[in-house]
Amino acid sequence: MTRLIFAVNSNPGSDELYVIFFSATAFFVFLASFIVYFIVLYQKKQRQNQTERDAMQAAFRQGFLKARLEIQEQTFAHVSREIHDNITQVLSFVKLNLAMIGEVKNEQLTKINENRELIAQVITDLRDLSKSLSFESITKSGLAKTIEAETGRITKSGLVSSTFAIQGDIYPLGEQRELVLFRIFQEALNNALKHADAKHLTITLQYIPELFIFTFMDNGLGFSRENLDDLVGAGLRNIENRASLIGAVAAIESTPGNGCSIKISLNLLQNSLYDGTHQDRFS
């Protein structure tokens, strides 16, 4: 692209030259302004695109999480129904059959009765499990009573002791929110029993007008976030994700040797994907 032109040297100067010079200067000033304008506009567009992309990613994440939870709830409901309608029925039938065995020796009768008691225990446990898996208990009894019953069941098993408290007047949070909060409680309970080796649990539900706070504390081993294994880490992320889905904020605090505290704060004035007025429900 060489443009090396060899011109002739001749008469110097002309008044027109000033006009040409100023026109050229004006043109280059215009060009420079155009470039600056382009840069500013481009950067503005970049920022706009970034904001839109972030919003889309957040919406996608929320949608994905919602779909995952719906599938999970459907699976829970299916398993719960199977346990209730099939397995416990069969076990009841087995228990009945055992009761109908006649003309047996005392020794055998004792064994049969022991087995009947064991089956009765299995049936009760399975019914409890079925209830905890199903969302129906939440729908029927509400969050506070369901958590209280679940805590009572765990305490009764002798695995841990617990303190359960409700502060303020109970008000409904909405079916979906309560279900998500219950699943958070279950996840926290699971972590406390399986990984933290906790001996005592403190569960508090605070019903402050327009603000609900759920607190779950254990006196287990505790942890530091950096040293968490994948399973526990995933469980805690699950808690945070579920909380964000209902527009709540999860604060998880723990240090090694000092147990763990999970606090879910739900501002009821804030809109969320799963607000209490949403018509469709899980499964």
Partner: protein
């Protein structure tokens, strides 16, 4: 003037070398640009040799004016999206060939400087450049604008084409009015050097992974 010319050739050689070394990492448009720089280097060397022997290298300038236009059009063909735009780019190459034939036949013989062809080329480059800026605004990339090879190349094209267009006009005026055009010659040399330096920079920073525009349509 020889020293400037050799410096200019050295610059072209260095940019060609950089382009060849980074060839695999370059996006299709910048691969074409590298070939264009190599071809420019060869053409300018031939022009110098022919100029020394025959004292007139304008036939090479005529030939290269068309070649260069075709190459730059191919670069923009690869950078711009839109079937209609691409078709227009191809059509413009045929138009320029036709214009060159008419130019040689009626206006500027093979022994004269191909000013008409170069002026028209520069006008079209400005259009290409504006079209690409528009496309960049429609599809902004995540990467910082100043790290985008396409931005530097396109800006370079816009500034060079407008500056040279103005330079041609002024040179014609100076010659017509028998004024001293030495300043304009030096201006032209500086603009050329800057033009190829910025092209060299754009080749150095180009990366096919992070291009500003969508190349899927190619």
């Amino acid at each position: 003037m020889d020293a400037e010319y050799y410096l200019y050739l050295l610059l072209l050689f260095l940019i060609s070398l950089a382009g060849v070394m980074r060839y695999k990492k370059l996006s299709p448009a910048f691969k074409t640009l590298t070939i264009l720089i190599i071809a420019t280097f060869v053409s300018e060397t031939i022009k110098k040799i022919i100029g020394k022997i025959f004292h007139n290298s304008m036939p090479v300038a005529h030939l290269w004016a068309i070649g260069e236009y075709a190459f730059f059009s191919l670069v923009y063909y690869r950078l711009l999206s839109g079937t209609r735009t691409k078709k227009l780019i191809i059509a413009s190459v045929f138009f320029m060939i036709l214009l060159e034939i008419v130019n040689i036949a009626f206006f500027e013989s093979l022994l004269q400087f191909p000013a008409i062809l170069l002026n028209v080329s520069q006008f079209i480059y400005v259009l290409y450049s504006l079209l690409l800026f528009r496309q960049m605004l429609i599809q902004p990339a995540e990467e910082s604008l100043f790290k985008q090879s396409i931005f530097w190349f396109n800006l370079d094209m816009l500034l060079f084409s407008t500056a040279m267009f103005l330079n041609f006009a002024l040179t014609s005026y100076f010659i017509k009015n028998k004024l001293d055009a030495t300043m304009l010659i030096y201006f032209s040399i500086i603009v050329n050097m800057l033009f190829y330096t910025v092209i060299g920079i754009s080749i150095l920073i180009d990366n096919k992974k992070y291009d500003a525009v969508d190349f899927c349509s190619k």
